[in-house]
């Protein structure tokens, strides 16, 4: 086997004067770059034999890197993983495109002492004359895996351990505030009401944080199906009416909204519409109206939610969909929001293959819109092709 690097080494044995100065400099630069890389780097030929390895490979796998030269790369993986490596190599040789690290191409590494550890592999083709070499960039992801486990445990703890006492608190306050435990003096009723509404706010905050975490970690499952947009919006408008009534705001669906289908997850799309409605209602003055509309243009279905509130300040527009964003830090307290609702909207809509945006002028309210692909037979493959069907 005579790979490109061997040839480079061979030439290195020649008197320096025999090599062109540019080529010599390029080789030195390449060697330096590979050596300086904090990840393990290895060059493998198309038969899967190691041609070159940097010192980090030695550190990661516990093998002398010079002893690795000419060895099959399989020795760096446990037996159970070798089939995955064969498949990865066959796929790469068939289609030698760059597979960057950070795209969750995970394998298990085998250390010289027999221990195993999770690794992530990036693959970069190097074409030399008529042969193909592969530069493999290998990162030990043990720490990342540990952190992911800790995060999962934390989410689980938040989900269960925090909600369980909260169940007792909010249920007790709900029973008290509705007279379930007998009549209360007016001042006590007022205090219980405050405690109850803040307990519910805490529940919403926990639910929103859990949702954001699940979306960002790709753990939120989307069950895509054709959804009647108008029916879903009518339902969401009805559900929001109780909240709107408490603020003296009216909500209506534009009667000209057509009955069109989109390809979406019913629960998540309901969450999108509810969040937009809740936001519009929250910022509407008493007696004002929130108008919801659906329109269709070509293959795009557009949902709009219009309010007549104070509008969005110019300097806040770029941050509207950011997490925990509030136009005014005092808004969180005044409006009782978590600052996560619109961020959740944006992330869900993107996962559904759609777009979200808004128009607003100070003093003239705001109009938020969501655009989703209209359902037809081709929509399924289009959304699936973007890898958005299931997390």
């Amino acid at each position: 086997m005579r790979g490109w690097i061997n040839e480079a080494f061979d030439r290195a044995e020649q008197p320096a004067r025999a090599r062109p100065r540019g080529e010599r400099a390029a080789q030195e630069l390449f060697k330096l770059a590979v050596e300086a890389c904090p990840s393990g780097m290895m060059v493998v030929d198309r038969d899967g034999r190691v041609v070159m390895a940097n010192s980090e490979i030695e550190h990661l796998f516990g093998h002398d890197r010079h002893a690795l030269i000419g060895q099959p790369v399989e020795i760096l993986l446990p037996a159970a993983m070798r089939a995955s490596l064969d498949a990865l190599r066959a796929e790469f040789v068939k289609n030698p495109q760059v597979r960057r690290t950070g795209t969750r191409r995970e394998l298990v590494g085998l250390h010289g002492d027999g221990s195993e550890f999770p690794i992530e592999v990036g693959l970069y083709p190097i074409r030399v004359r008529d042969s193909l070499l592969v530069l493999a960039v290998i990162t030990d992801i043990s720490e990342r895996k540990k952190n992911e486990r800790l995060k999962d445990e934390f989410v689980s703890t938040v989900s269960h351990e925090l909600r369980t006492p909260l169940t007792s608190i909010t249920a007790s306050l709900a029973l008290l505030s509705t007279g379930g435990a007998g009549p209360l003096p007016p001042a006590a009723a007022r205090l219980i009401g405050i405690a109850h509404s803040n307990g519910q706010r805490l529940v919403r905050l926990i639910n929103d944080i859990l949702d954001i975490e699940k979306i960002e970690s790709g753990q939120m499952i989307f069950h895509l199906e054709p959804v009647n947009m108008r029916g879903l919006v009518e339902q969401a408008v009805e559900t929001s009416r109780a909240y709107a009534d408490t603020l003296g705001v009216k909500v209506r669906l534009n009667i000209q909204s057509p009955a069109v289908e989109v390809y979406a997850d019913t629960d998540r799309l309901t969450q999108v519409v509810s969040n937009l409605l809740s936001n519009a209602i929250k910022f509407s003055p008493r007696e004002e109206e929130v108008i919801v509309g659906i329109t269709q243009r070509g293959d795009i279905v557009r949902l709009t939610v219009r309010d007549h509130g104070p509008g969005i300040p110019e300097d806040f527009k770029a941050r509207v969909f950011d997490k925990f964003a509030q136009a005014d830090s005092s808004d969180t307290r005044q409006k009782g929001g978590t600052g996560l609702g619109l961020s959740i909207v944006k992330q869900i809509v993107r996962r559904l293959g759609g777009e979200v945006g808004f128009r607003s002028e100070i003093g003239a309210g705001a109009l938020f819109f969501v655009e989703l692909p209209r359902w037809h037979e081709n929509a399924r493959s289009r959304v699936s092709a973007r890898g958005k069907e299931v997390a």
Partner: protein, 127 residues
């Protein structure tokens, strides 16, 4: 009208008391409470409730395991079991339904609508 018999199972005493009070807002409901799965198996066989409302995470015998034992006993096999859980994400809901649960009520629950929600899982009452 026949009273709706609901057996509630939860290891948290506070939740048991609150669920008892919440369900009792409906005068046509009779509630019995159990603090663990094994107690629930005995009570369900003797009292034959119309619906069992059960916590998921309980020590010794959790909700899914209790449901499995209920299904294995002819006297309790057909009683609808509704899980009540703080783990109410879509994936968990699908899992609980696949185990044979009739439904899932998320925690925190609304005490004012709890009786109606549980009643919706009950078979039609006669008499």
């Amino acid at each position: 009208m026949t009273n709706l018999r609901i057996l509630h199972v939860d290891d948290e005493p506070d939740i048991r008391e609150l669920v008892q009070m919440s369900l009792s807002l409906d005068s046509d409901v009779t509630v019995k409470s159990c603090s663990c799965g094994s107690e629930a198996l005995i009570e369900a066989a003797e009292w034959t409730p119309h619906v069992i409302l059960m916590d998921v995470m309980m020590p010794t015998m959790d909700g899914p395991r209790t449901l499995q034992h209920l299904r294995e006993n002819g006297a309790t096999a057909k009683i609808p079991v509704v899980f009540m859980t703080a783990r109410a994400q879509t994936r968990e809901l699908t899992h609980f339904l696949s185990l044979g649960a009739a439904g899932v009520i998320p925690k925190p629950f609304d005490p004012m609508t709890l009786a109606g929600a549980v009643r919706s899982y009950a078979p039609p009452l006669t008499g």
